[in-house]
């Protein structure tokens, strides 16, 4: 009975494939950013259109309060583009660093990239953030 141990060439090929996968994921994330930015631009346009129309129509106090509350929620939710873009950009940088390491293992690049900046977006949802006055 023979056992097939991975050879150095197998490991090198696997590293090269993994690096190619990293590059493909980076490209997917770039497309995701484009889609998010396009959607956010359209949502913002609709939001401003609604907000400008809303001010021209007089309503009773209860309706105005409900609309103001809905607009406040929309203002919070529409901040998603900034957070999503930062998070996606950070993931791309991490993938680029990983890709560089894998290519270095494969002998394609001599120096691996280092990711210096920590995670910039720790939020896991769109609930309001903290306030600290010094």
């Amino acid at each position: 009975m023979t056992t097939n141990h991975p050879t150095e060439q197998d490991a090198s090929d696997a590293g090269c494939s993994a690096a190619q996968e990293c590059a493909a994921i980076e490209a997917d994330l770039e497309r995701l950013k484009t889609i998010v930015n396009d959607a956010a631009g359209r949502l913002l346009g609709s939001f401003h259109e609604f907000a400008s129309l809303e001010q021209k129509i007089s309503r009773n106090l209860e309706e105005r309060q409900r609309i103001e509350s809905a607009i406040g929620s929309a203002v919070m939710a529409l901040q998603f583009q900034d957070m999503a873009t930062q998070l996606t950009h950070h993931a791309q940088r991490r993938l680029a660093a990983l890709e560089s390491c894998l290519r270095a293992m494969h002998g394609q690049t001599p120096v691996a990239k280092q990711l210096e900046h920590p995670q910039p977006v720790p939020q896991v949802g769109m609930s309001t953030g903290s306030v600290d006055l010094f």
Binding site: D82, Q123, T128
Partner: protein, 120 residues
Amino acid sequence: MQSILAVDDSASMRQMVAFTLKGAGYNVIEAADGQEALDKARGETVDLVLTDQNMPRMDGITLVQNLRSMAAYAATPILILTTESSAELKAKGKAAGATGWLVKPFDPSKLLDVVRKVIR
């Protein structure tokens, strides 16, 4: 009318900040990064600066340091509005002279409460 300098490299964030502040009667001047904000602050004095932290060319804390070195901005309230929430960065912001640290996303009514509290 009191003026607020709103600094963020995200156009959508600037829009949401400006929408909120203008709706409460403030004049809003926008800048896309710290360097542009510094140039605008040299041109005219504002009553409050609300800045992001992570931006190209010049980040928020560096902007605070630069503004605090200017006599016209020695006592102007400066708020940092950012996704970052680490204690280390907050301490750096405080040491640079920031008035407060707000973590995104902001609630419009809470932002206005803070602005009314610190603006002179």
